[in-house]
Symmetry: C2
Subunit: 570 residues, 2 copies
């Protein structure tokens, strides 16, 4: 029965006939000792004797165990749906899982680096067998596994406890499991027909989010979109459709000159939307903020009046709940008053701050959010859901559909046997739409609302810890006073050489270069990552954000000391 | 040493103290026999004796083996980054992998159903322990694993050899491995800083695609977007930016009345784009097609002239390479001539047909594509890459950046230590952008260009087989004559009761109901899935498409017989 066993590898009838049989068990180990080789041969003999050792039969379901497999003579074409492809498929996937679980364990291990930095030209030239070029001929699965390891090796561990570089950090295990399942299901959100469970999960989760926002009975509408920028773009589109539905058919020529308002601290996606949708960026008016980065409502009202006096039509206001840099929350209630008074659409961009709605302690920062016409809320930021997961929520039902529906007969057939109001495709600006809901739904099941609340409260506690630790520390200077509203802590590190310099051009110019230099050294040494940027007339400063559930006070301490260590001699 | 061993489960010091210890080994098996229970207890004793049996030390790297674990008292909070979270994390992920690999094996097994259909209200009411509602309190990981199994159980196996319902079908194992890795890396394409390897892979792959299109040296630009609809939207945006850059700042008011052209058979995303971007759907002119669904170039020219005579500005033409329903290829060269003559942007929507460029035998169907200004090409369709994977390719470099850049200082710092031209974020309408490139790059490595070619040639051979089999078969009627250009085969099944009816209203009305009824029965019985739709004045017909690498002639035979079996008595 020998040949049959090894037929399970696709085409090699007897393993010892294979030219690479000596490499068995030697995956990725180029210098197998003689002892190992003899072990390989006896292992092979043992396996042939036992016939499909790797497949247990438990309760009727075959379960595969990882066995040593020679991938150097296996190719993609040997995997399912190939004949006898099941065994190599299972072994290949289990090898991948080994690579991934090893990566996951290292991600949470503080003794590993956050990244192993290389310049683009270095990676493009090829690193010891890691060659990015594509070729006409297939590579062996052994090479594919090497490529997978190398891809992770030269990447950035965004789940590492000391990765603070973006608003999205951390690696949630349940969310990750959800993504693995989503990829395996490999379907599309546009119809109930091919994504019944995911479509219902999306519907229930959006309703729950609307309840949390405070809309009566969670009524309204919404959809998951490929990120906060697209969610914000939706808000502008539906606002326009609400006030000037004829633009859908006749274009912007059918409307008067429409004016949008957003804070000078708001996310640039509002500006992108105003350009893309045909408003023009000049018709997006930037609002002044206080020193904490919050919109000054009186400035909004003054600018609305000024626009009206010019004969323009103020149509849309974006209030940010958690700005990107300062983490500021615009005063929603006061802005809502003005929107009601002048009949404007109120959107709340809670991409970053929306998560705080899950916290009984912090949700007051979004007071008035239930008065918004639409809300962007990205679970992939403050709630730790893997990328991408962003929702646009709309108070009035039917607008999304009205705005975007084109009734394509070949996709949305009214004569299906099920209730086709569950088909979501005609609400979207996309046709195919990735399943972003499952990981989020699964995390919510696994953590409960209280789990998200605890995560958010912990992150805010940590940022308060950081703030209190550096606010009076020598060499640190806060960008704005008072405790931050979100987990954003913005500060300059002043190296000793600058501390005695008087404020002025020279100090500013030199200080502007400090954060980039420290950041570059951090990346070269791979110890931690934190963002920096200028803002308005303020020179480059660090923006620390905490959304990583793996971060602890010791990591905050480490960051401060690392900045001091790297910046001391600048 | 007993307590220490079981500390690895997070918090339960001795497994036999746990109220659910009897359930160990009994995951999802509600009725463990006495014999099993005694096996559980001895298994536990054995494990405690061996201390972390599940963790081998090979070459310094700990490797985890799946062991029987009681998940009923484990929660998300016990997983990493929790203290001692490593062992439960690994066991949980390996259990997930067991669920997924079991699903994958069944997917390729023709004796399993394609789907287990339930109506929305049935799933919403809850199916034997599968409850979609979210709650405030966490669920155990055992419940989470049950939920994962049930999510797959009530879903649709889009990789099943008899799933023909969409343009995207199949489950590529290497692509799947790529997605699992992508989820684990959990990063974002906007900067080289946090996605160095993926950013370079995207760049190299886009260049390769441009070479295949035929642009000199593969020069030009491009980006992966969340689907063909968004890629098409990009094409309209950059065309407008090319001709009327002032629209970015001043809005559509700064441009004359702009006219877009596309075929009446083209994808509805062009219409969605014209609505969203402020052109208005009335300014999108639909072009007549021949009976095969291909644009008639003379009709384009006539309509361009008519628009100019009204004082409008013809700006943009979309030529479809592979229409959604008929699989028709518009004559690109003749359309390009007209575009050059009237100075219009030529976009080729190759979302579905672009894959044929990989086939030396079939790429002539896109002759002239190198004359396009932009091309949409979705590897997630004909090339079998998991969802989502869509590219917008642009011949002129700099337009994407010019059109979309907003220069957000907090995201794109010019003073970074690396070459920041690799940062892609300012080209996109998105801010965060999912990593769609890796699975595609990995598949290309694993298959080679020749592997994609073979897949595409096979699918087209299969569709020719289907066409030849039914074109003269009793009870089948083709929607259009001649062999299809793509894998789309469009046909009616005429039940015996209709065969003798003369053409006319009654026959049409009855025939219109046949495909929906057969489809509903297919879904109820779960044997196969194929799409149907009306088109123009043609009543509901089946549209068969083949992109699934698992499909064989026997599956085509099965489909035909299944339609006959289900439709015979209608």
């Amino acid at each position: 029965n020998l040949p049959q066993t090894f037929n399970s590898y696709g085409k090699y009838n007897h393993p010892l006939d294979s030219p690479s049989s000596r490499k068995r068990l030697g995956f990725l180990q180029k210098n197998n000792s003689l002892e190992e080789r003899s072990r390989i041969v006896s292992s092979l003999k043992e396996r042939t004797a036992k016939t499909l050792l790797s497949c247990d039969n438990i309760g009727g379901d075959a379960r595969f165990r990882r066995t040593e497999t020679d991938f150097s003579n296996l190719f993609a074409r040997d995997l399912l749906p190939a004949k006898n492809g099941e065994e190599p498929t299972m072994q290949f996937l289990l090898e991948i899982v080994e690579i991934l679980t090893s990566y996951i364990r290292k991600t949470f291990d503080r003794s590993t680096k956050v990244l192993d930095f290389h310049h683009p030209h270095q990676l493009l030239e090829g690193m010891e067998g890691f060659n990015l070029e594509l070729s006409d001929q297939p590579e062996s699965l052994e090479q594919i596994l090497v490529d997978c390891r190398d891809t992770l090796k030269y990447g950035v561990r965004t789940g590492h406890p000391r990765f603070f570089n973006q608003l999205s950090t951390g690696l949630d295990i349940v969310g990750l499991a959800g993504e693995w399942l989503t990829s395996t299901a490999n379907t599309n959100m546009f119809t109930y027909e091919i994504a019944p469970v995911f479509v219902l999960m999306e519907q229930l989760t959006l309703k729950k989010m609307r309840e949390i926002i405070g809309w009566p009975n969670g009524e309204g509408d919404g959809i998951f979109s490929p990120g906060g920028a697209i969610s914000n773009m939706y808000s502008v589109m539906i606002a326009r459709y609400k006030f000037f539905p004829e633009v859908k058919t006749k274009g912007m020529a059918a409307a008067p000159r429409l004016i949008l308002f957003t804070s000078e601290h708001s996310h640039y996606s509002i500006k992108k939307a105003s350009a893309a949708l045909g408003f023009g960026t000049e018709n997006l008016i930037l609002l002044n903020t206080d020193e904490r980065g919050r919109v000054i409502p009186a400035d909004l009202e003054a600018k609305v009046i000024a626009a009206k006096q010019k004969g323009y039509v103020p149509m849309y206001v974006n209030a940010t709940a958690g700005t990107t840099v300062y983490g500021a929350f615009d005063p929603i209630n006061e802005i809502a008053d003005i929107c009601e008074k002048y009949n404007m659409w109120l959107h709340v961009d809670g991409a970053w701050g929306g998560g705080l709605l899950m916290s009984r302690k912090h949700r007051y920062k979004l007071n008035g959010v239930q008065r918004a016409n639409s809300v962007t809320w990205n679970p992939h930021k403050m709630m730790g859901v893997p990328l991408q997961c962003s929702a646009i929520l709309v108070r009035e039902r039917g607008l999304l559909q009205g705005c975007n529906s084109m009734c394509a007969g070949y996709l949305f057939q009214p004569d299906k046997q099920y209730d086709v109001t569950y088909d979501t495709g005609d609400k979207a600006i996309q046709c195919g739409r990735h399943v972003d809901i499952f990981k989020f739904w699964l995390m919510w099941k696994a953590k409960g609302t209280v789990g998200f609340e605890q995560h958010i409260d912990n992150c805010l506690d940590l940022s308060a810890y950081l703030y209190n630790k550096i606010k009076n520390r020598e060499g640190f200077e806060m960008v704005f006073n008072e405790e931050p509203q979100h987990t954003n802590v913005c500060f300059w590190y002043i190296p000793p050489s600058l501390r005695s310099l008087p404020d002025g051009r020279e100090r500013r110019e030199r200080l502007h270069k400090v954060a980039p230099k420290i950041k570059a050294m951090m990346m070269e040494s791979g110890t931690t990552m934190v963002g920096y940027q200028p803002q308005g007339d303020k020179v480059n400063f660090f923006r620390m954000v905490i959304s990583n559930p793996a971060a602890t006070r010791s990591d905050i301490d480490f960051l401060i000391e690392e900045i001091e260590r790297l910046g001391h001699d600048l």
